[in-house]
Amino acid sequence: MRDTPILNVSRRGVLGGLGAATFVLSVGLPRPGRAQDDEPEFGRDAMPNGWTDDPKAFVAIDADGTVTVTCHRSEMGQGVRTSIAMVVADELGADWERVRVDQAPGEEETYGNQDTDGSRSLRHFFMPMRRVGAAARAMLAQAAADEWGVDVSEVTAGNHEVTHAASDRSLGYGELAAAAMELDVPTGDALVLMDPSAFRYVGSSEIGLVDNMDITTGHTTYGIDVRRDGMLYAVVARPPVYGGRAASYDDSAALAIEGVEKVVAIDPVDFPTEFSPLGGVAVIARNTYLAMKGRDALEIEWEGGPNAEYDSAAYRETLSQAANAPGGTVIRDEGDFDAAYEGAAQTLEAEYYVPHLAQAPMEPPAAVVEIRDGRAEAWACTQAPQVTRLRLAERLGLEKEDVTVNVTLLGGGFGRKSKPDFVIEAGILSQAMDGAPVKLTWTREDDIHHGYYHTVSVEKMSAGLDDGGAPVAWLHRTAAPTIGSIFAPDPKHKLPFELGMGLLNMPLAIENVRAENPEAPAHVRIGWYRSVSNIPHAFAIQSFVAELAQAAGRDPKDYLLEVIGPARLVDPRDQGDVWNYGENPEVYPIDTGRLAAVVEAAAEGIEWGREMPEGSGLGIAGHYSFVSYVAVAAEVTVEDGLVSVPRVSIAIDCGPQVNPDRIRSQMEGAVVMGIGQALMSEITFAEGRAQQDNYDTYLVARMEDTPKRLDVHLVTSHSAYDQPLGGVGEPGLPPVVPAITNAIFAATGTRIRSLPIGDQLRS
């Protein structure tokens, strides 16, 4: 594919070693190999394996002028392959029609950090990718100047060629590529970035997705689509209870099926399970159907293990008791909550429940692994290629250097595909077949039964209002199993990064604030799910503010703006949040003015204050997450207890907008996902087993649930592209649910405090 590459990949030092357990690093462990340990690192600097802006890693130019940009971030629908290429192409002065995108394999020594999570791709790589493009442009210009024997200051690079106006000469990028690749990469003052006013692609809404043609004609390759010569197909029967095991099994009926090649036992998992396969019994066959048929024919006796009694209804009571009992670990304490609460003119309490959720990306986990001559090659829909590579190597007894992880397109991720358990399963099975390529597919039932679920939570809120209805005391007690439970033996408290998702950094202008975190053990695998702990925190906080508005007899939008308070910069560290999404709090303080501005924009977009017919209402919520500001205003109609959401207005301020169309699409998608969470999505457990099986019982939003009118408002307080960028993929989601439930209250007078709404409004 690369006939005349500019590059030979440079090898920047490997700086980190903990792979995708990035939160561990993000909360303050020093990065191995750092020269100075006393200076805190933030943003991309703090990520495992660091980053690079070496153009030789990311740009190749063929002799025919085709520019290939290598995207080192996983594409799962956020549009990153298009957006990264837009940034590089703009600074490179490339013609968009001649730009192609290659996907980087998991190779952190070349590309730096590749964990595609935390709404970080553009936030962390906009500037490095600008420098990549600018450096390559400078090298092309220098190559032309050398060719013509003129000073580089006399030539201009742009529109896919370098010109020397004085002599009316020009050379195309393709003609210059070979010479340019021999030059040193410019650094320091020699590297001049484009004036953002000259951007042609960055900031444009007119750029089509680079994968549009393949997607619309069926020629894309996701993890589940990979085909290799001699490939076998596998599915795995896993223990239905987390931590269980197959006590015994009979595979004779399975092996009697023509086309079933082998049955393989996979060792059960030890706690903490991290990204390890859950164990079980695999069936390997000539095609996927036969593998599934073989699995159906297995007779397995399961042992449940320590979580065999897990019952989510009973556990909800446990969480509720914990959240209602004083004395949990105090995680934030300002002023004197007790005194202010005692002295308040009016007090309120409310308890909010969010169930387990499954990411359920449309493409279930799937991967192909083959092992040849002591080297393993994987093809996987992974958000975390580097930890995939590490864990696959460890499990197969290989060196990391002998493992290649090719990153396919991801048919959705939402956090599920940050965990490489499924890729390791494929590796184990390839090894069991003497290295033959094996495609491991999770059925939808596997995905629903054996997930890394969104946590389950009870948030207990208490507040005191003064005579004028203003909040003077605020207590937030949060009880939820932590994602840390997959990494450490039985932790019972939320980690700083979870608490920093909208709880510790809750920026409302209230004088006396306390937050507590009682214990909550985990009984299932808990994992990242788009926007993570912001979901329960935003639901509780933004619902409770609306409840306070009601108690104060105030308009919810006006009240929300008053509680947000005057425009000011809040240092999250002052509120006990040392995480701040991994970003420098001096660069990324919480700007309450920006939060208020998106609330105003969302309200304006829905025509807040208009007269609503009976059974209809408007609700609003605003939330800061992933260093971006989002507000949602929703219109709902409730008829015979059934909720519809005919219109939504969502406003985001994510700082500079690289690809506005993809920001819009992320907001549109967040609204739809949020509607599903509000109305119907829930995973429950009985006897340790998930009670839902597939999309017939784990319900998510469909076409008819989608607003007829969905307006996205891009708000920005920053016109210059040198301002810090915010996240986009996740922050749209948290305020959607409370906007809807607040609207339901306006429509019906019924306050929804437990998700999903289901049939709660049926009389």
């Binding site: 799962m76 629908g77 956020q78 549009g79 997705l209 994968d211 549009n212 043609m213 393949d214 997607i215 619309t216 004609t217 069926g218 020629h219 894309t220 390759t221 996701y222 589940i224 689509d225 085909r227 197909y233 023509e258 086309g259 095609n287 996927t288 159907y289 036969l290 599934m292 359920a360 990306p361 449309m362 493409e363 279930p364 397109l409 048919g411 959705g412 991720g413 939402f414 597919t441 059925t443 939808r444 169309d661 699409s665 992320q666 998608g669 967040a670 609204v671 739809v672 996902m673 597939n694 999309y695 017939d696 998510v700 939003a701 469909r702 076409m703 989608t706 607003p707 007829k708 969905l710």
Partner: protein
């Protein structure tokens, strides 16, 4: 022995006739444009046309469609220029893209089979096609655009 025509090519299948068309297309013919999502007709990512009508390939045993003509996303148009495909690109409908082959096949059947397409028609026709990324508003707009362009 089952005889079917897939994207204009005659095929003979002599395997287990309970094999869902989905896995025959994907694993045997290598037509991976048709996706797996649920296996129980609950998500629509496997939507193909069987004798011109939309069908869920995951619950269509090959043995039940002897003599049928099957069209997959790869065969919907010669150059990817069915009005639905064009509209999908114009409006940047896709996010991850995984469900879009099924969405496009369902939408193409709707657009090709109707004089006019209302929002209610779209809700009704597309209810079986899930998109976890939440591209429904753009799907709606693209179907309207394709219906007008036809």
């Amino acid at each position: 022995m089952v005889n079917i025509v897939v994207n204009g090519v005659e095929r003979q299948f002599d395997g287990d006739e309970d094999t869902p068309l989905l896995w025959y297309l994907r694993d045997e013919l290598g037509l991976t444009g048709t996706k797996y999502g649920c296996g129980i007709a609950a998500c629509g990512v496997c939507t193909v046309h069987v004798d011109g009508a939309p069908a869920f390939a995951c619950v269509t045993p090959v043995g039940t469609i002897d003599g049928a003509e099957v069209t997959t996303i790869e065969g919907l148009s010669e150059n990817g220029d069915h009005p639905v495909q064009v509209a999908w690109r114009d409006l940047n409908v896709a996010q991850c893209g995984y469900c879009q082959a099924g969405q496009i096949m369902q939408a193409a059947a709707l657009v090709d089979g109707s004089e006019t397409v209302t929002d209610e028609d779209i809700d009704y026709a597309m209810t079986g096609n899930l998109c976890r990324c939440g591209t429904y508003t753009r799907i709606r707009a693209a179907i309207r655009q394709a219906a007008e362009a036809k």
